[in-house]
Amino acid sequence: MSSLVFLQVATPYTFRWNVLIPYLPAFARGLLVTFQVSIVAEIVGIVLGLVAALARLSRWGGLQLAAIGYIDFFRGVPLLATLVWFYYGVSLLFGINFTAFSAGVAGLGITYGAYLAEIFRAGIQAIPRGQNEAAHTLGLSSWQIMQHVILPQAVRIALPPIGNSFVSMLKDSSLIAVLAVTDLMRVGMIVASDTFRAFEAYTFVAVVYYFATVIVARGLSLVERRFAISR
């Protein structure tokens, strides 16, 4: 707030929010695209993360190494680089024509899968060993134990950090604007250049992201409470 006052004193900038009004439907469509990308990418990330976590914990060394390689690589490379690489690199190297939307979803999902793998692994390892042993003495196979005893509990433990990752996803998805997917951020960029009112456009975009993430986070904590198991 104080910096805004300072700006007004130093450079008498007059906010003109009304230039945004004609673009409100475009912003709304952009927000919808942001949610679409985020939800699909989060699902991709959850599936990949679960598979990678199981591979990481498997008895087979090859699978472990593959999982560790995947997790290290995509946590170590900047998301922006991954996105650009998926969009341009994959089509150059393999001749596959990705739409910007699918390249964005793939890059986000694969990167988030690397983080989610560690979340799932922590959840699985948090289950007391006695659960596994009791299930073993009842004659369940390792896979049945994972499916019916360990994962249902581990997923509930992982629910809060998964929710967090979705909140981050909503914001990180803004990077796909550089692939020219018209998400909320991209609409902000277009409006900024159309109106020469970048400050208003980006401030508005920031406020919308803020409310979207806060509302989603509150909703998710309700879900968490619904699924929590007491021990």
């Binding site: 009791a134 299930a135 003495t137 009842l138 004659g139 369940l140 049945q144 007491s230």
Partner: protein, 245 residues
């Protein structure tokens, strides 16, 4: 050891069982037989190898040497594990499942029972442990004694030939111990073969057919409870019982 050697009423034969964890030798050649329907109580100071012995019998630990035979066949990695049921100190009920679902999970997955049949069996078992009214409850809503009785019912649902009990009352408040011991007593009277690690002398005196004292990975004294309580042969037995009484 040829199968024909085993007497007909033999349920468990353990021969020269050895187990070490790294350099620590926990079981140093333990051998014993348990007859069908017999209740063997294992006592001994902590760290003596009692729990490891049970865990080997349940195949939760792979022995480093020796053989385990159950009901006339060698108990190996390929034997269905639920031949031997086990109840744990910490109950280990599945917290995300109701009491009924805890009990029917393995019968449905392993014995391939239909849900209706598994539920019918589970209700019979719950009646046996006096917890039928808790079928829909979750483990967290039960007392420790009730949880342990559910754990016993859950094990029985797999129709094991042998039941192992590893200090199943040690985590319970005093006033809840008896309800679990009574269920175990009834089970013994119904003819279940049981190996019980416990510090409960009431159970050892009144239910055990035979008593085992283990120390440092070897059986140091064995015999009927009356004899061991009244006239222990070994100094170590006398000292250990003295500490418990």
């Amino acid at each position: 050891m040829p199968e024909a050697d085993a007497p007909r009423d033999l349920m468990i034969r353990v021969v020269d069982l050895e187990k070490h964890f790294g350099d620590v030798q926990v079981l140093r050649g333990v051998s014993f037989d348990v007859a069908r329907g017999e209740v063997l109580v294992v006592i001994g100071p902590s760290g003596s190898g009692k729990t490891t012995l049970l865990r080997c019998l349940a195949r939760l630990e792979e022995p480093n040497g020796g053989e385990i035979w159950v009901d006339g066949s060698r108990f190996t990695g390929r034997t269905p594990r639920h031949t031997v049921g086990m109840v744990f100190q910490q109950f280990n009920l599945f917290p995300h499942l109701s009491v009924l679902d805890n009990i029917i999970l393995a019968p449905r997955l392993v014995r391939k029972l239909s849900r209706a049949n598994a539920v019918a069996e589970a209700r019979d078992l719950l009646r046996r442990v006096n917890l039928l009214e808790k079928a829909e409850a979750y483990p967290v809503q039960l007392s420790g004694g009730q949880q342990q009785r559910v754990a016993i019912a859950r094990s029985l649902a797999m129709q094991p030939k042998v039941m192992l009990f590893d200090e199943v009352t040690s985590a319970l408040d005093r006033e809840l111990v008896m309800e679990v011991l009574q269920v175990m007593k009834k089970l013994a009277e119904d003819g279940m073969t049981m190996v019980v690690v416990t510090h409960e002398l009431w159970f050892a005196r009144n239910v055990a057919d035979r008593l085992f004292l283990i120390d440092h990975g070897v059986v140091i004294e064995e015999g009927p409870p009356d004899r061991i309580f009244s006239a222990p042969r070994e100094e170590r037995t006398r000292r250990f019982l003295g500490e418990l009484l």
